[in-house]
């Protein structure tokens, strides 16, 4: 069984995590830019983007893991508009680096007007820096807990403001839960589910959502970071699905092929979906 971890903050993890992930079948990770736990200066962002595009790929490669990332200003740091615009001006030079999949994780945190302004600027940046008539892939963080329902609605409404300039099949809206996944899928976007048991989903609830809403355009991640989290919650979710009798082909689709399909919207993403073939060795 092979895995692509669609959302993990490896800068916060140990090298032992890379080793454990590789031993557990992880062949690629996608690391969105995020909040460091404290607000940074614009120059710290430049260093962070170098870490994501230069250092982490080397650390991952030691274990045969391909490292991809996303560049943006996380919504938690969008409240200071002046600083946010300064950081936004840094971003284009990093977007064309080889392991960058697109713009993310942008989104909302407390659903404030300043956060919404910076969100729209990021979306416009993804459009303006796209190629061949397609905007860059976009990865979106939805707010936590009591702010999630309203924030997810606001995000979908803002994306619709861009009309045909935004292709929902090139946008993943992450951290969906029971009250938000339907609206995301119905609008044609990819839906991410995050297994982070105290504040987001559990393995059991993530598998429930797959059973209720289907496995099309769905990715499962653990968003492991500097909090109480573990990249292998993705694998625990696979085990829960397996325990309920889901077939290997379905598991391969959810944990490998769906991320490979969405990330494959970026030409530099090298991993292709795989098929599970049961061969009768006696007839080969």
């Amino acid at each position: 069984m092979f895995f692509i971890d669609p959302h993990v903050h490896m800068v916060s993890r140990t090298t032992t995590d890379y080793e454990n992930m590789a031993m557990a079948g992880v062949v690629a990770v996608s690391e969105p830019a995020f909040w460091a736990g404290f607000d940074r200066t614009p120059s710290a962002f430049a260093d962070y983007y170098r870490q994501l595009t230069e250092f982490e790929p080397l650390r991952a490669a030691q274990f045969g893991i391909s490292h991809y990332c996303w560049i943006c200003l996380n919504p938690k740091e969008a409240e200071d508009s002046g600083k946010a615009r300064e950081v936004l001006s840094l971003i284009p030079q990093y977007l064309s680096r080889p392991n960058v999949l697109g713009v993310g994780e942008i989104g909302l945190h407390k659903n404030t007007p300043n956060e919404m302004d910076i969100f729209r600027r990021h979306v416009q940046l993804a459009i303006d820096t796209g190629s061949a008539g397609r905007h860059r892939l976009i990865l979106i963080h939805t707010p936590h807990l009591e702010d999630k329902l309203r924030g997810t609605r606001l995000i979908i409404d803002m994306l619709k403001e861009f009309g045909s300039a935004i292709d929902p099949s090139r946008v993943l809206i992450d951290h969906c839960e029971e009250h938000t996944i339907r609206m995301v899928k119905d609008a044609g976007f990819w839906a991410g589910m995050t297994v982070y048991p105290t504040t987001k989903a559990t393995p059991e609830r993530a598998v429930d959502m797959i059973e209720v809403y289907g496995s099309e355009r769905v990715c499962i991640n653990a968003a492991a970071d500097w909090g109480i989290s573990d990249p292998l919650w993705v694998h625990r979710t696979m085990l829960e699905a397996r325990r309920r009798g889901h077939k290997l082909r379905t598991l391969m689709k959810i944990f490998h092929n769906n991320p490979a399909t969405f990330f494959g919207g970026h030409l530099g993403f090298a991993i292709r979906p795989m098929d599970v073939v049961h061969r009768d060795l006696n007839t080969d």
Binding site: L145, T199, T202, E204, R205, D208
Partner: protein, 88 residues
């Protein structure tokens, strides 16, 4: 009893947590637990819709426990433990 223990207050002497502090420490865990229960009941409901109702005393006990959670009386953990205990 060593010197350290002698200078420590007994458990009974510890000031109770304030209501606000209890919520601060345990709200998220309780919120997550309530979602787990809700999702389990949804799972059971979907199974019963597909495969027919299940006649199982564990379901009855679970509903009784949920009533205890929602009532106004205290001592909930002990009362729920009794619901899940073999009688006699």
């Amino acid at each position: 009893m060593n010197r350290h223990d002698a200078t420590e207050p007994t458990d009974a002497a510890v000031e109770p947590l304030s209501g606000g502090r209890v919520l601060e420490l345990y709200f998220l865990k309780a919120r997550a637990a309530s979602l787990d229960i809700a999702a389990m009941l949804d799972r059971l409901s979907r199974a019963e819709q597909s495969l027919g109702p299940v006649n199982d005393e564990r379901k009855v006990r679970l509903k009784s426990a949920l009533h205890v959670l929602a009532d106004e009386a205290g001592d909930k953990a002990r009362r729920i433990q009794e619901i899940f205990s073999i009688k006699g």
